[in-house]
C-alpha cells in the first residue's frame, strides 16, 4: 500500500516473517539471496543436470520453503543431488542465489539430522569425510577419502575401486598412498577452531545457523 514497499533500499529481511524462509535467507552468505523473489517459473528445475533425479525440483523446494514445510524440505534429496554447476543461478530470471541456498539446506539438514531420513542419506558423509581430511592435513586426501567413504557405504564398490579404478590411479601415479600435510597445520586448525566459535556465537544470537 505504501510507497516504501517498493523502496529498493528496504531490506528484504524486513519484509520476511520469521520463518523457515528467513532462517535460510539469514544463513546464506554473500548478501541477500533473494529467495522470496522466486516466481516459480521452473528455470532452475529445467536447467538442473540432475533435476530429473530429484524428488523435488529446486523450484518446488522453494515453494515448500515458502509454505514452511520444514521437515519435508530438509529430508529431501534435492540439495544432495546438486552438482554445483550454477546453471540455475545464472539463468534465474529473479537472480535468486539458488546454488548458495542449496548449500545452506545441506548444512541445515546435517546440523538438524534430517539427512538420515533422506534417500541420499550417505551423501553428507562424503562431504564430512572430505572435511575431516582437510581438518587433519590441510589438504584433501583422495585415497583416504575414497576408501573410508566407500568402506562405510558401498563395501562392494570399495572392493571394485581397490581393484579397478583405484589400482589404476595408483599405477598411473595419480593417487597418493599417504596424505600430504601442510607445514603450518597448527595455524590452520586454530583458524578453523576460531571460525567454529564465531559461528557458534552467531547461532546463539540468531538461532538455527550452520
Amino acid at each position: 500500500m505504501t510507497t516504501t514497499a517498493f523502496s529498493p533500499e528496504a531490506p528484504v529481511l524486513a519484509r520476511t516473517r520469521r520463518s523457515f524462509m528467513r532462517e535460510i535467507v539469514e544463513d546464506t552468505p554473500g548478501g541477500d539471496p533473494r529467495l522470496e523473489m522466486c516466481i516459480q517459473c521452473g528455470t532452475c528445475g529445467g536447467s538442473c543436470p540432475s533435476g530429473a533425479d530429484m524428488e523435488y525440483s529446486p523450484r518446488r523446494i522453494f515453494a515448500m520453503v515458502e509454505a514452511d514445510m520444514r521437515e519435508e524440505v530438509l529430508k529431501a534429496n534435492t540439495f544432495w543431488y546438486c552438482v554445483s554447476c550454477y546453471y540455475c543461478m545464472v539463468r534465474c530470471p529473479q537472480e535468486v542465489h539458488i546454488t548458495d541456498i542449496m548449500y545452506t539446506l545441506k548444512r541445515k539438514a546435517i546440523r538438524e539430522g534430517y539427512y538420515r531420513e533422506s534417500s541420499a542419506s550417505d551423501a553428507p558423509d562424503f562431504s564430512e569425510t572430505f572435511v575431516d581430511a582437510v581438518l587433519k592435513y590441510g589438504r584433501s586426501f583422495e585415497l583416504g577419502l575414497a576408501t573410508r567413504y566407500h568402506l562405510r557405504h558401498h563395501p562392494i564398490g570399495a572392493v571394485k575401486m581397490a581393484t579397478g579404478m583405484g589400482l589404476e590411479m595408483l599405477r598411473k601415479g595419480r593417487m597418493d598412498l599417504t596424505p600430504r600435510r601442510i607445514k603450518n597445520l597448527g595455524q590452520l586448525q586454530a583458524i578453523l577452531r576460531e571460525a567454529e566459535d564465531v559461528a557458534r556465537e552467531d547461532r546463539e544470537q540468531i538461532g538455527g545457523g550452520a
Binding site: 510507497t3 517498493f6 523502496s7 529498493p8 533500499e9
Partner: protein, 158 residues
C-alpha cells in the same frame, strides 16, 4: 543532539529544466537519498548569484550543491557555462574564507539522471559528514571577542 552523529545540512540549487526534473524523476522512481539536502528551484544554473551560496553557508548550511544542465545542453543554450565560470571563481574565493572545496559543488544532471543526482547527493552528504559541521555562526563569534573580565586566568600573565 550531542549523541547523534553529525548530520550535515545541504542546500541545493536546481535548474528548472534538468536537475529539478531529475529530482522529480528520483522521486517517481523511488530512488532514495538522505534527507540532508533541501533543494530549491531556479530557472537556470545561470541564475545562481554567488550571494545565494554565501547566504546559505552563513545561515547554517554545511554545504551547497549547485546543479545544472550538462555542458552543451542548457535550456538557455549556454548559461551553464557562465554558471561554471562563476562557480570556479567563487570556489577560489571561498577557499580563502576557509571553506573546503567539497562543501560547494557543481554537478551536471539532466532530467533523465534522477538516480545519478541521488548518487551525487549521497556522495556529497558522506563527504561533508566526514568534514564536520561548518556552523558559520560560530566562525564569526570566535574567541578573542570577549570582554576583558571574561578572560580565563591562564591568559593573564605576569
Amino acid at each position: 543532539m550531542a549523541d547523534k552523529q553529525f548530520e550535515p545540512l545541504i542546500i541545493g540549487f536546481t535548474c528548472n529544466w534538468c536537475s529539478y526534473r531529475a529530482a522529480d524523476l528520483a522521486g517517481m522512481s523511488r530512488v532514495k537519498y538522505p534527507p540532508n539536502v533541501r533543494l530549491m528551484r531556479l530557472m537556470c544554473s545561470g541564475r545562481l548569484d554567488p550571494e545565494f551560496v554565501l547566504k546559505a553557508l552563513r545561515g547554517g548550511a554545511d554545504g551547497v550543491l549547485i546543479t545544472g544542465c550538462h555542458p552543451g545542453e542548457c535550456h538557455y543554450l549556454e548559461q551553464n557555462y557562465k554558471a561554471l565560470r562563476r562557480f570556479l571563481l567563487l570556489r577560489r574565493t571561498l577557499k580563502q574564507f576557509g571553506v573546503e572545496p567539497q562543501r560547494v559543488r557543481l554537478i551536471w544532471a539532466s532530467a533523465a539522471e534522477g538516480a545519478r543526482l541521488a548518487q551525487e547527493i549521497n556522495k556529497m552528504v558522506e563527504e561533508i559528514r566526514a568534514l564536520g559541521p561548518l556552523t558559520w555562526r560560530d566562525v564569526i563569534s570566535a574567541n578573542g571577542d570577549r570582554p576583558l573580565e571574561a578572560l580565563p586566568a591562564e591568559e593573564v600573565t605576569a
